[in-house]
């Protein structure tokens, strides 16, 4: 499957959706503003050319969505003028343009040297995502002695960006230098280049996670489960969120209240007369949504080999 983003005018955009569905692809998200439609979708590799031709016919713009199907959290030390809207939101925008679903978090007490803390709530929220991107400051001493110690308990892939060039020993942390709380809008000079360094680090981290998944694949692809959920749970249509079923690399987030809909999700029929609980673990997220963690073949056995 190849993930792609279509951007174009609303005129005849449904031709793209029809084609993607006809060739056996999946629509991940569709957002429609007044003058622009953005569709993120997955198509089989051999049919990419057909979609390109169709996009050309209706004068749309098609590009590869390298981060589609990934849920990233961008963490800044605060929402004060020092960090937001620039560069915090500029970085988020860049990830979104690459197809990622990005959440934004400013820590309650992420600033300072001795006073910086990560609360249990923040930690739980961050750990629900595939990847966390942290923005730290300009002093090497501060980053080494305080900020990296603050995040050392997080057991997930992390990209840290800060100004000084330095080495970080922990294997789950990718360090990117040259970008910190400078009020840049990423338009002029070397600003774009600095932003690309962060995007590149995120892409490499995602690639590593995907390779790891190849060694021990998931029993069903998240994108398939998403389609089943959308077909079998009509309540999804009542959800006002732009991405009611959010794709993650090895799981799904369903933005419906856990208490009301957990049983419906657990009893969902998937391949070969099985229910979703055979293939995945359903749990409650910190904010009361439903998290579906898909099992690996080493745990549940192959569903397709029977």
């Amino acid at each position: 499957m190849e993930f792609m983003i279509y951007r174009g005018a609303p005129y005849k955009y449904d031709w793209v959706i029809d084609l993607v569905e006809d060739v056996g692809g999946f629509i991940i998200s569709k957002s429609m503003q007044t003058t622009e439609v953005v569709i993120i979708f997955a198509v089989p590799k051999e049919d990419v050319q057909k979609v390109e031709e169709m996009s050309g016919r209706i004068f749309g713009d098609l590009k590869s969505a390298l981060l589609a199907g990934t849920e990233i959290i961008m963490v800044s030390p605060s929402y004060s003028r020092h960090h937001a809207p620039m560069p915090h939101c500029g970085i988020i925008q860049n990830f979104r343009e690459n197809g990622a679903k990005v959440d934004s978090l400013a820590m309650a007490r992420g600033v300072g040297l001795e006073i910086c803390r990560m609360s249990a709530m923040e930690r739980a929220l961050i750990e629900e995502h595939d990847l966390a991107v942290f923005m730290f400051g300009s002093f090497e001493h501060c980053i080494k002695e305080y900020k990296l110690k603050m995040i050392e308990d997080l057991d997930m892939p992390i990209v840290v960006m800060a100004y000084p060039p330095m080495e970080v020993e922990k294997s789950n942390i990718t360090y990117v230098d040259g970008l910190t709380r400078i009020l840049m809008s990423f338009r002029k000079g070397d600003e774009q280049e600095r932003l690309n360094k962060v995007t590149q680090a995120v892409l490499e981290t995602v690639k590593k996670i995907k390779e790891e998944l190849k060694d021990d694949p998931l029993v069903v692809p998240p994108i398939y489960l998403k389609q089943e959920i959308e077909e079998q749970v009509p309540a999804i249509e009542t959800c006002l969120s732009p991405a009611p079923v959010t794709l993650k690399l090895d799981s799904l987030r369903i933005k419906l209240p856990y208490d009301t809909y957990a049983d419906d999700i657990k009893n969902l029929h998937i391949l070969n007369n099985r229910t979703l609980t055979d293939a995945a673990e359903v749990s409650q997220s910190y904010t009361g949504q439903i998290l579906v963690k898909i099992q690996r073949e080493s745990t549940a056995g192959s569903f397709f080999g029977e």
């Binding site: 605060s78 600033v111 001795e114 501060c142 000084p164 400078i182 009020l183 840049m184």
Partner: protein, 188 residues
């Protein structure tokens, strides 16, 4: 900015702060700025910043904004520049109280109980607009934007054409103040 002096043992932090200050100045567009001095010790819990400026604009007094007509028991001020009318009324209410100051017509303010020469002179010397006051505020905002967010305990000192801001995340100790002043050549 040309006159930007940053002192720190961490050379990368000096580079970073040079860029941070440039971008903050672009964003805020503060005029009449002369120099910025920053002292940041990476391991210490304080950060100090001194901003120098060039004076511009003159303070405006009642004498500059109106013409007086001295009566037997009161003074009638005829306003020439209406732009400062609100500031002027507010200031006069502060000094003389609301019962003694009355705006009888659009361009007339009557101050009661002022008749002898000394009192009239005092009235005409009341300062209405002090450009320096707003400017100090702007400079402190600039310094706060440069200082790291975590350092929320701040001490501000003014002296002539400079503002000194020392910030920390703890109670500011006297040695830090003395040391910062020595490093930033603060004479007052």
């Amino acid at each position: 900015m040309e006159k930007l002096f940053i002192e720190s043992e961490d050379k990368h932090a000096v580079e970073a702060y040079r860029q941070i200050v440039d971008y903050v100045l672009n964003d805020m567009s503060v005029k009449s700025l002369d120099a910025i001095h920053i002292y940041a010790d990476p391991a210490a819990l304080f950060f100090s910043c001194r901003v120098d400026f060039e004076r511009s604009g003159t303070p405006l007094k009642i004498r500059d904004l109106s013409t007086e007509r001295v009566g037997e028991e009161d003074v009638d001020l005829v306003i020439g520049e209406e732009r400062y009318l609100a500031d002027m009324l507010r200031k006069l209410w502060d000094v003389y109280g609301q019962d003694r100051v009355e705006q009888s017509e659009r361009q007339h303010i009557i101050v009661k109980g002022v008749s002898n020469d000394a009192d009239v002179e005092k009235l005409l010397d009341v300062m209405v607009v002090d450009p320096l006051e707003d400017f100090y505020e702007q400079l402190i905002t600039l310094a706060v934007d440069i200082i790291p967010v975590g350092f929320r305990v701040r001490r501000v000192e003014y002296a002539g054409d400079s503002v000194l801001v020392i910030a920390s995340e703890k109670t500011i100790e006297k040695e830090w103040i003395d040391y910062s002043k020595e490093k930033l050549q603060w004479n007052s």
